[in-house]
């Protein structure tokens, strides 16, 4: 049985290759035909989805075997003296899960885009980018070594850049795209450094080999300081995820990235690319595990901080997509701190469920935005529940899922993370997580109540979206409901397949789960009280804490700080150096030229044009040279004319 499975795994490279092929086809062949472009792209991603399902099925059937021994296929990519890099595919439960999530969400988004992007001039370009993105993301998931991962990591960054700036004529989109690329680049700098140091220390970048090399090196007592070295590496490598997954302080690009088309936000900036950082940490978990405990503690702390930080900003935002973006940041923080507290499978589980319900909500938001002709302020919306039933119901499912209501997907994943945090001895982080859960429920329901329940606005004429948009919503809603059930207690549950180190079977702690649910219900209730029943006035709260409101509204002024740094520090530095270059470096060059010219000007005075003068100088020189040779010392005397002239010797 394993044999035939391997035959299947041999072909795993087709999963990223098919969308790439579709990218090439669209770019070079079907560019002019809109219908063909989208057909090619969707067919490719659906085929990938089919293969991903087949692989996931095989992985589940293989059971323990594949958990212990991932199926790895490699081909040589770069081979020079002292540097050998392979490309390949790794199939283990982690990558199989990711493949399924990515292909599913990508397919849904591409189908959804048929409706959302209808009539857009850049249709073919859009689908080309989508295919390229899918290809890069899948290639990253399948990476067998850090360099391959890094390459695709950067390529998804490129696609993100291109898609955020898809409507390049909007200045805001252009700036957002630039910002996204630049911010993640800062993180990638650390990742690249970490990668280089890892290679120079252990001589390999292959995940399996690296892990083995590290453990041998740690066991070697003669090598002192390996643990410290690994810790430094871990921090450097972690900079990549900080940038990509929008952890504080490199989170600033994600809210701005909402300038892209909404399906793009759903796919890239909610479900797939932004979790790449989480995936990287999961893939490299051994690195953080081998490092000293501070590394994981740092991750946990930063994740928790990001979670509550972003959630607090989300509370006061008015743009529907920005609320979702801050919510994404907050949930990414959840996944990070889950990894930090050692809840490996909880984090991966949350990654999966979050992908479903956040994509769902983004697509729902897109549906709303399209219906309202690109209005994004939630206060311009209202009473959509009746006009857009499918969108409304599916969105409601998403809200319940993210608020952690049983039996929706978010309940199981969130609960597992929080329970693990407490059990592994991180009470503060647990408390932060719990409070974040409360905030999440609050601001999500605020969004829902204002948009769907509030008073209808007469200037809006909303209508339900076409089937191409509602079907993906329904499918994603389905997964948002049932997605969590795979972690129900049992032997072959999610944690059995996706775990790190020793397998612990943890039963759901119903007490803790109850607390989480209560926190969520509190949030929902508070939102209901404020925005539906108007028992508490939002304005009065704002009026009481104007400073806090302003701080939150402006996202703690992190953006302004960065802008200030870029403009004043970097720009100023550039200006100073440019001044230096033009005036000092160039000045020296020009100064030399001027000196040459000046001395020329001076010396040409000697060219009086008087031939007699020239002759005098000439003969004077003859006399002087004669004197030197006649009465000079040393070697010159060998040429003494008094001794050598006269007669043939």
């Amino acid at each position: 049985m394993f044999k035939e499975m391997h035959d299947l795994f041999q072909w795993a490279w087709l999963i990223p290759a098919l969308p790439f092929l579709s990218f090439l086809l669209i770019a070079f062949v079907t560019k002019r035909s809109k219908g063909l472009s989208s057909t090619v792209s969707i067919l490719a991603i659906l085929s990938s989805l089919g293969m991903a399902i087949a692989i996931a099925y095989s992985v589940i059937r293989a059971g323990a075997e594949i958990v212990e021994h991932p199926a790895i296929v490699t081909v040589n990519w770069l081979n020079i003296g002292g540097l050998t890099i392979d490309f390949g595919t790794i199939i283990d439960p982690l990558s199989a899960m990711m493949l399924f999530v990515v292909t599913l969400v990508a397919s849904m988004v591409q189908i959804y885009s048929l409706g959302y992007m209808h009539g857009d001039k850049g249709w073919s370009r859009y689908y080309a980018y989508q295919s390229l993105f899918a290809s890069a993301m899948l290639g990253m998931v399948l990476a067998t070594n850090l360099l391959q991962l890094f390459i695709f990591w950067e390529l998804v960054g490129l696609c993100s850049y291109l898609l955020i700036g898809f409507w390049y004529f909007k200045v805001s989109a252009r700036e957002a795209a630039k910002k996204a690329f630049m911010t993640t680049r800062v993180g990638d700098f650390g990742l690249l450094l970490g990668m280089l140091f890892l290679y120079s220390k252990f001589g390999t970048l292959d995940f399996v080999a690296l892990s083995a090399a590290m453990s041998t090196s740690l066991q070697d007592i003669a090598v002192v300081g390996t643990a410290g070295y690994i810790t430094v590496m871990a921090f450097l490598v972690f900079m990549g995820p900080v940038g990509k997954s929008g952890q504080f302080p490199l989170h600033v690009w994600l809210p701005d990235a909402m300038e892209g088309p909404t399906p793009v936000s759903a796919l890239i900036h909610a479900a797939t690319m932004v979790v790449a950082g989480v995936y990287l940490v999961a893939r490299m978990y051994f690195l953080f595990d081998f490092a000293s405990p501070e590394a994981l503690q740092f991750i946990a702390g930063l994740g928790a901080f990001t979670a509550i930080f972003a959630a607090s900003i989300a509370v006061v935002q008015n743009d529907i997509k920005r609320i979702l973006a801050y919510s994404t940041l907050s949930q990414l923080g959840y996944m990070m701190f889950a990894l930090g507290v050692g809840s490996f499978s909880g984090s991966m589980f949350h990654l999966m469920t979050h992908a479903f319900f956040k994509a769902l909500m983004f697509l729902g938001a897109g549906s709303v935005i399209l219906a309202l002709h690109h209005k994004q302020n939630i206060w311009d919306m209202g009473g959509l529940w009746k006009k857009m039933p499918i969108t409304g119901w599916t969105f409601f499912i998403g809200i319940l899922a993210i608020s952690g209501m049983p039996p929706f997907a978010g309940f199981f994943s969130k609960d597992e993370i929080l329970a693990n945090a407490l059990q592994n001895g991180h009470p503060i982080i647990y408390a932060v997580g719990l409070f974040t859960a409360f905030l999440t429920a609050f601001y999500m329901c605020r969004l829902f109540f204002v948009v769907f329940m509030g008073p209808e606005k007469p200037e809006n004429h909303p209508h339900e979206s076409p089937w191409s948009m509602t079907i993906p919503l329904i499918i994603l809603a389905f997964f948002s409901v049932v997605g969590g059930w795979v972690a129900l207690p049992g032997h072959y549950n999610f944690a059995f397949f996706v775990h790190y180190g020793e397998l612990h079977h943890v039963a759901i702690d119903w007490f803790l789960a109850g607390i989480s649910v209560i926190a969520g219900l509190l949030g929902i209730g508070l939102a209901y009280a404020i925005y539906v029943k108007n028992v508490i006035s939002a304005e009065s709260i704002v009026a009481r804490f104007p400073g806090v409101y302003k701080l939150l509204k402006n996202g703690y002024y992190v953006d302004d700080l960065y802008l200030w740094i870029i403009h004043h520090i970097m720009g100023g530095m550039g200006k100073i150096l440019y001044w230096f270059d033009i005036n000092i470096v160039d000045g020296i060059v020009n100064g030399i030229a001027l000196t040459t010219r000046g001395s020329g000007k001076l010396l040409r005075r000697t060219s009086t044009g008087q031939v007699q003068m020239y002759a005098m100088v000439f003969f004077f020189a003859v006399v002087v040279i004669f004197m030197v040779f006649a009465f000079g010392e040393g070697q010159l005397s060998a040429l003494n004319p008094l001794a050598t002239l006269g007669g043939v010797k």
Binding site: G81, F189, Y199, S200, M570
Partner: protein, 515 residues
């Protein structure tokens, strides 16, 4: 040295490659100057022959065998030991291919040239042939000869066809030429010193291999002095800080094709020379100067990147960026490590293709809009989408995006250099952040943004104008996706030419505490 030319298989390949543009040039000389179309076609055909031959050489080169291949040796001035010796190995073959790729593209990038067309293409072809000659020379004398041939057409082309912006084109042309000549003067002194030292035991020679084989004739003190001269000569050619100031001004003043060739290949003669003549022939001197060079290189990287941030003219941005990128090449050379040298050669190739594409695109923009000022442009992706595509590709290659050949090269450099020069390399890698900042800035401000009606009359590039974009972008991606094609060749060059052993010896000596 036998009096008869040593004959190897395909020994006439390189002479034909070298002569094709010259034959085309002679044909153009006899064409009436009104026949601009024919002149351009002849030039393109000449370069096509060269390109085809060098691609053939690239794939016909026997990597297993290694060493100099397609060699041709004709004694020229026997008394001085000068031989007309041609040949390529893994170090020079990529450079030869690069020259022809860029040369061929540059003909098409100047397709709309309408001022003194005949003279322009004559000079351009001489220029290309000269650059080609430096890379296929196996003899220092011939190398230097071709290098000097290159300088003259550049001067004339900048003065006549250039453009005056911040500085006048006359100033730019003078600066470029004088810088190169001063550099070559230092080089000449170093070259003669080396020649005399090598001829101390009789049997004078200029051949690179012979010079390298006579290691024991060069005392450490001599090596240090001679290498310092080479560093000034080649360093100003590769625009190492503080000898870089010709580069931005020169590119800004030069016509498109000259900028392409200059940034694309001519600059690489510096790096190539440092490898072939510097560390290969004078390893002890190289290891003495390496830390200082590395420091200057890091300064180049960061300093130029910062300056590129605040430039207003696109060509200045790319000009400073090329100074910055060449810093990586110098870091790699200073690392004195076979892998790093492989990376350095690859980086030169990668940067050459990228810079040529960038300059070609900027040239088209300038030709169509008559401005290169970033603030006057904007939203060009609406009117000229293909041009925008090329621009973005060049930009992405410039910031070392994976999938482009530039990434492979940078990565190889970093991975090899970080072992030897960790601090320098980390600082150098920090440069990629600033690179991203300035590249994204010009892409965003020139190509993206709201449609501007004043550029509605522009036509997108089409027909022959597409050649540089298609050819160079294809090479960028091919090299990035299948790096073994390029890297394998360079690697064999480093290992089979004896460079690797030399470097091993030097690094061991360093550890042994000789210095």
């Amino acid at each position: 040295m036998s009096a008869l030319p040593t004959v190897s298989s395909l020994s006439m390949l390189l002479p034909f490659t070298l002569l094709a543009p010259l034959v085309a040039m002679l044909l153009i000389v006899f064409l009436p100057k009104e026949e601009t179309k024919t002149i351009k076609l002849v030039a393109a055909m000449g370069m096509f022959v060269s390109l085809a031959l060098s691609i053939y050489a690239f794939f016909a080169y026997n990597i297993e065998q290694g060493g100099m291949q397609f060699t041709l040796t004709i004694p020229w001035i026997p008394d001085l030991g000068v031989n007309l010796a041609l040949g390529v190995d893994g170090l020079s073959l990529p450079m030869l291919l690069l020259t022809n790729l860029i040369g061929f593209s540059s003909i098409y990038a100047s397709w709309n040239m309408d001022k003194r067309v005949k003279e322009y293409f004559i000079l351009l072809l001489i220029l290309i042939a000269g650059v080609m000659g430096t890379f296929i020379a196996r003899d220092l004398f011939i190398f230097f000869l071709f290098y000097e041939i290159v300088v003259i057409p550049i001067y004339i082309m900048v003065i006549i066809w250039g453009s005056s912006k911040r500085v006048t084109k006359e100033y730019a042309g003078m600066k470029l030429t004088i810088y190169l000549l001063i550099g070559s003067a230092f080089l000449l002194v170093g070259m003669i010193a080396l020649y005399l030292a090598a001829a101390a035991g009789g049997n004078p020679t200029f051949m690179f291999e012979e010079l390298a084989a006579r290691q024991d004739l060069y005392s450490p003190a001599f090596q240090k002095v001679a290498f310092a001269l080479m560093i000034i000569g080649f360093g100003s050619l590769i625009s190492m800080f503080p000898f870089h100031s010709w580069s931005p001004d020169g590119y800004a003043g030069a016509p498109t094709a000259v900028s392409m060739i200059h940034a694309g290949v001519l600059k690489k003669i510096g790096g190539y020379g440092l490898i072939r003549l510097g560390i290969y022939v004078l390893p002890v001197g190289a290891s003495f100067w390496a830390p200082y060079i590395a420091t200057l290189a890091v300064i180049s990287v960061l300093y130029a990147a910062f300056i590129a941030l605040v430039q207003k003219d696109m060509k200045y941005v790319v000009g400073y960026s090329s100074v910055s990128h060449m810093g990586y090449v110098i870091i790699a050379i200073a690392a004195l490590n076979p892998t790093a040298v492989t990376g350095a050669v690859a980086m030169m190739f990668a940067h050459g293709v990228m810079a040529a594409l960038f300059f070609a695109m900027i040239g088209f923009i300038y030709e169509k809009t008559h401005t290169r000022n970033i603030s006057e442009l904007g939203g060009l992706a609406h009117q000229v989408p293909r041009l925008a595509t090329g621009f973005v590709i060049a930009g992405m290659a410039s910031l070392g995006l994976p999938g482009t050949v530039n990434f492979v090269a940078e990565f190889t450099i970093f991975i090899a250099a970080i072992k030897v020069l960790p601090v320098h390399t980390v600082l150098g890698i920090a440069g990629i952040i600033f690179t991203a900042v300035y590249i994204l800035r010009i892409i965003a401000n020139v190509m993206f943004g709201p449609r501007r009606s004043e550029w509605d009359h522009l036509t997108d590039i089409r027909g022959p104008e597409l050649v540089p974009l298609v050819l160079l972008a294809f090479v960028i991606f091919l090299g990035g996706m299948f790096p073994n094609i390029l890297m394998g060749l360079i690697d064999s060059g480093v290992n089979s030419s004896g460079l690797a052993e030399v470097l091993e010896t030097v690094s061991q000596a360093k550890i042994g505490g000789l210095f």
